[in-house]
């Protein structure tokens, strides 16, 4: 059986500071193993999410983006995630409509106690992006070949 080096995607996770980031923190403290491909960016609330952030991530060459917030009704700022839910569906539909493969952009609700759920979703997201391979669409290339850059980063 041949040993294949599996493609390791780079995934940017925007986690809301009150719930999902807490879950990630708890998973870490509890020594739960989750894939290291996730690079976390903390945002105050998913209501702060802006399509600019997601597009910027893809432009920089990340293979997948994951946004996670509090469950509807549990938002620390009352309704931030409820506004976000509407905006997510519009953006996701638009990005998939123009040809970004379904599976690169994910949204979840994870509360701060759900460390296990965080671990589970992290594995799912990494797996989904791994299947799709490295991203080529929307990436901003300005200089030398992508692969060389991937090594450096």
């Amino acid at each position: 059986m041949t040993e294949q080096i599996q493609f390791q995607p780079r995934i940017t996770a925007f986690l809301c500071s009150w719930c999902s980031y807490g879950a990630a923190d708890l998973a870490g403290v509890s020594r739960m193993q989750y894939p290291p491909n996730i690079r976390i960016i903390m945002i105050p609330c998913t209501g702060h999410m802006n399509p600019k952030f997601i597009l910027q991530a893809f432009r920089q060459g990340v293979d997948g983006v994951w946004v996670s917030g509090c469950h509807p009704g549990d938002c620390h700022y009352v309704s931030g995630n409820l506004f976000a839910r509407r905006r997510f569906v519009v953006l996701k539909n638009l990005l998939e409509y123009i040809g970004i493969e379904p599976g690169r952009l994910h949204f979840t609700w994870i509360s701060s106690a759900e460390a296990g759920r965080f671990q589970e979703k992290a594995r799912e997201v990494v797996h989904a992006v791994q299947e799709l391979g490295p991203i080529s669409r929307l990436v901003r290339e300005i200089g030398p070949v992508r692969e060389a850059l991937r090594q450096e980063l």
């Binding site: 539909n93 901003r140 300005i142």
Partner: protein, 317 residues
């Protein structure tokens, strides 16, 4: 058409004579075939230049933003919807504007006329009932108007003004005959690779002139996201990634507000069909949230509100 023009001029003249408004915004004859120019009449005499034709493709609601004095505006269906939207967004005060509503027969896309006469120089285009008379060196052609209308005019559902202070002419047919839901998102039947190919092909000619953004009445931000530099979300080059980022974000910013007036496509000097993005977004908003922008000045825009039962199928459960 001539009676409508007379009516427009009479009404405009009266408004200015009575001092009801400071300015009347309309159209006047363009300097080259198939064009009109936005016209600002500040005195009764200046209303003599006002016109109305099938080439009135600019969205005049753009010029209402930032005006302090009472202004009258000639507006057809989609434009009145934009005015309602601007009132909703507090960019225009209802009491400051006097709307001369008019039914739109559907506007002609000058590019479609040119494509019917490839390589020919067009010296003159006369609008007649149902067709256009096109004249040039050594030729004269008749072209049916219904063959050369703007894409969005075929699927329009609001040809009559939705809000107005005075109606010019009569209310006419409400729809253009086409079904917007059938044509709004043609790439939905394609796989990701084909969709991407179509997307790339749509925007390959973009030269970042921003005519689409500047012609759009929804785009009134004092600082546009393209000018943000700390950080720079969207580069200024014509590299594919920068062009795509601009169009995706602009389409998203128009989500739930775009009335499909077509001013963007009419303004684009390269003939890019950027409505392919906005019409998909508007279709989603119509079907998921049951909302059509610009029909009610009191209703809130869909992305500023939420319902407890908003769709969640797209989430990773």
């Amino acid at each position: 058409m001539l009676e409508l023009i007379e009516q427009i001029r009479d009404n405009a003249r009266q408004l200015l004579e009575e001092g009801k408004v400071h300015c009347v915004i309309g159209y006047r004859q363009g300097s080259i075939p198939m064009r009109v120019q936005p016209h600002f009449a500040y005195s009764p005499e200046e209303t003599d230049k006002m016109t109305w034709s099938c080439f009135c493709t600019q969205n005049l609601a753009k010029y209402l933003i930032g005006r302090e004095e009472p202004t009258a505006i000639l507006a057809q269906g989609c434009v009145t919807r934009n005015i309602a939207g601007l009132i909703q967004e507090n960019q225009v005060k209802r009491e400051n504007i006097y709307i001369l509503g008019i039914n739109s027969p559907g506007m002609v896309d000058y590019r479609k006329v040119q494509s019917k006469l490839p390589g020919r120089v067009i010296h003159e285009v006369l609008e007649e009932n149902g067709h256009l008379l096109v004249r040039g060196p050594g030729y004269e052609e008749k072209i049916l108007k219904r063959d050369v209308k703007r894409d969005n005019c075929y699927t329009c559902n609001h040809r009559n003004p939705v809000i107005y202070d005075q109606l010019i002419g009569e209310k006419g047919e409400e729809t253009g005959g086409g079904n917007i839901d059938k044509v709004a998102a043609p790439w939905e039947n394609l796989g990701p690779d084909q969709r991407w190919a179509k997307f790339q092909d749509t925007f390959k000619d973009c030269i970042r002139c921003y005519a689409c953004r500047d012609a759009c009445p929804l785009c009134y931000c004092k600082e546009c996201f393209v000018d943000e530099s700390k950080p720079q979300w969207c580069g200024k080059t014509v590299d594919e990634s920068d062009v795509h980022t601009f169009h995706i974000l602009r389409a998203f910013h128009c989500a739930g507000r775009c009335t499909d007036c077509g001013a963007c496509e009419s303004a684009c000097p390269m003939g890019i069909k950027m409505r392919r993005l906005t019409s998909k977004i508007e279709k989603d908003i119509r079907q998921m949230f049951g909302f059509s922008p610009g029909l009610d000045t009191q209703e809130s825009p869909p992305l500023s509100v939420y319902r407890p039962d908003d769709p969640e199928e797209f989430m990773l459960k």
